[in-house]
């Protein structure tokens, strides 16, 4: 399972490095969304409103949806799907590999969006750094949930079906992540949010390992 996970993650990251969809399309979309959020709040209110963490996570989820769709689109051409199916890869390994690659891509996007949040929404740097562990946990949860729901929504209507299916599942991650970020900015305790994020991560990893094979054959 671990061997397959490394193989699949390496393949997905190599494809991303070569196609640069994340670099040239997804991250710029996220930055534009943050700029629009800053403009909507106005330069004087952006820093004082406390909306930074919420907007950061909202844009991150939108970016994640695009990346999840892309992650599964590369597997969905009929010929590729059949050829890869005949490799008999362990579905749990495929799930973990795709989730790992998605996590690396999400983390790359989050670094840019975090910097954008500091610059455009005037979110304090020290609080953002304090929130980094909770953001990392939320990203891992988004990667696991996204990989699972991406397989469930895969097909011709994936781009429109995925948000409907995945957003409710991502809501706990979004809420806990935003609360942890806000708590980090205000200096409040974080452990309860870490617990929620870690529980959600373990749940999505467990579901993915158990169900991904069924979803692939569906």
């Amino acid at each position: 399972m671990i061997r397959v996970a490394w193989l699949v993650a390496g393949k997905d990251l190599r494809i991303e490095a070569r196609s640069r969809v994340l670099l040239w399309q997804v991250v710029p979309f996220g930055v534009i969304a943050l700029v629009l959020a800053g403009l909507a709040l106005g330069p004087t209110r952006a820093g004082a409103s406390g909306a930074g963490p919420g907007l950061f996570y909202l844009v991150l989820v939108l970016v994640a949806l695009l990346m999840i769709t892309r992650s599964h689109a590369i597997e969905r051409s009929a010929g590729t799907r059949s050829s890869v199916a005949t490799l008999g890869l362990d579905p749990a390994g495929v799930f973990l590999g795709k989730a790992l690659a998605l996590l690396v891509e999400l983390a790359s996007a989050a670094i840019v969006l975090g910097a954008g949040s500091i610059l455009l929404l005037h979110t304090p740097l020290a609080g953002t750094l304090r929130a980094a562990p909770s953001i990392a946990l939320a990203l891992a949860g988004l990667a696991a949930a996204g990989t699972l729901y991406g397989a469930l929504a895969a097909g011709e209507g994936a781009a429109t079906l995925l948000p409907i299916l995945a957003l409710p599942a991502m809501a706990p991650l979004l809420v806990a992540g935003e609360r942890a970020y806000s708590a980090a900015l205000s200096g409040a305790g974080l452990w309860q949010w870490w617990l929620i994020l870690a529980t959600a991560l373990v749940a999505y990893l467990g579901l993915g390992v158990l169900l991904y094979g069924v979803l692939e054959d569906f």
């Binding site: 393949k11 010929g79 590729t80 059949s82």
Partner: protein, 217 residues
């Protein structure tokens, strides 16, 4: 597992349904090991669906079936798939990976040695395109890459869906030679084709019509 006397493939009343529509409607078929079977029939007759059933890529909805000792209704279809070499009429690769990277991924997935990759690319005339992304290959070159994939795999069961599509005469001869060599090596080959194959070995022709085997097969 079946006994040694069982045919490599045995289908009885095999039905495949997708989206409420019967793709195969009661197929009876026996295929011996190390033989060549050619599936013919009009578009929509069920050739691709039958190939996909034999490869464990779709589920058997009704009837019975056994391929390479694996029961299609109750057996481990994932195990069957690992023994199958598939060549579809669509692209079979990751477009952003090079020809060699695609083969490397397949070989590593199957724990095959990487030493045979260059030989396979040379055999199909793609050595000079080894570092070209699959999306930059012509349709014919993609077919050649698919053939290289099959050479690397050395599968027990070769399932080839319209293998001659987009091929020039030279490539058709190459495909025939590779299929011939696979048969000599003991592989069982099932091909869907609109036209006659140049393979020297005797073949069984199965004509499909409306999702079942025609009477003139």
């Amino acid at each position: 597992m079946g006994s040694g006397d069982d045919p490599f493939v045995r289908l009885r009343g095999a039905v495949v349904v997708a989206g409420g529509f019967p793709l195969l409607s009661g197929v009876d078929l026996d295929i011996e090991r190390a033989s060549l079977t050619v599936l013919t029939g009009a578009n929509g007759a069920g050739k691709t669906s039958l190939l996909r059933l034999l490869g464990g890529l779709v589920a058997l909805s009704a009837g019975t079936g056994r391929v390479a000792g694996v029961d299609l209704a109750t057996g481990d279809r994932r195990e069957l798939r690992r023994r199958v070499g598939w060549l579809g009429h669509e692209g079979s690769f990751y477009d952003d990976l090079t020809a060699r990277e695609n083969l490397t991924f397949a070989a590593r997935a199957l724990r095959l040695p990487l030493g045979g990759l260059d030989e396979a690319l040379l055999r199909v005339g793609l050595s000079h395109r080894a570092t070209t992304p699959a999306k930059a290959l012509s349709a014919g070159q993609r077919r050649r890459l698919a053939l290289a994939w099959l050479l690397v795999r050395r599968a027990e069961l070769w399932l080839l869906d319209e293998p001659y599509a987009a091929l020039d005469d030279e490539a058709r001869v190459l495909f025939d030679e590779v299929i011939d060599a696979a048969l000599v090596g003991g592989a069982t080959v099932v091909v869907s084709a609109h036209q006659a194959l140049g393979v020297r070995r005797a073949s069984t022709v199965v004509r499909l019509a409306g999702g079942h085997v025609g009477e003139d097969s």
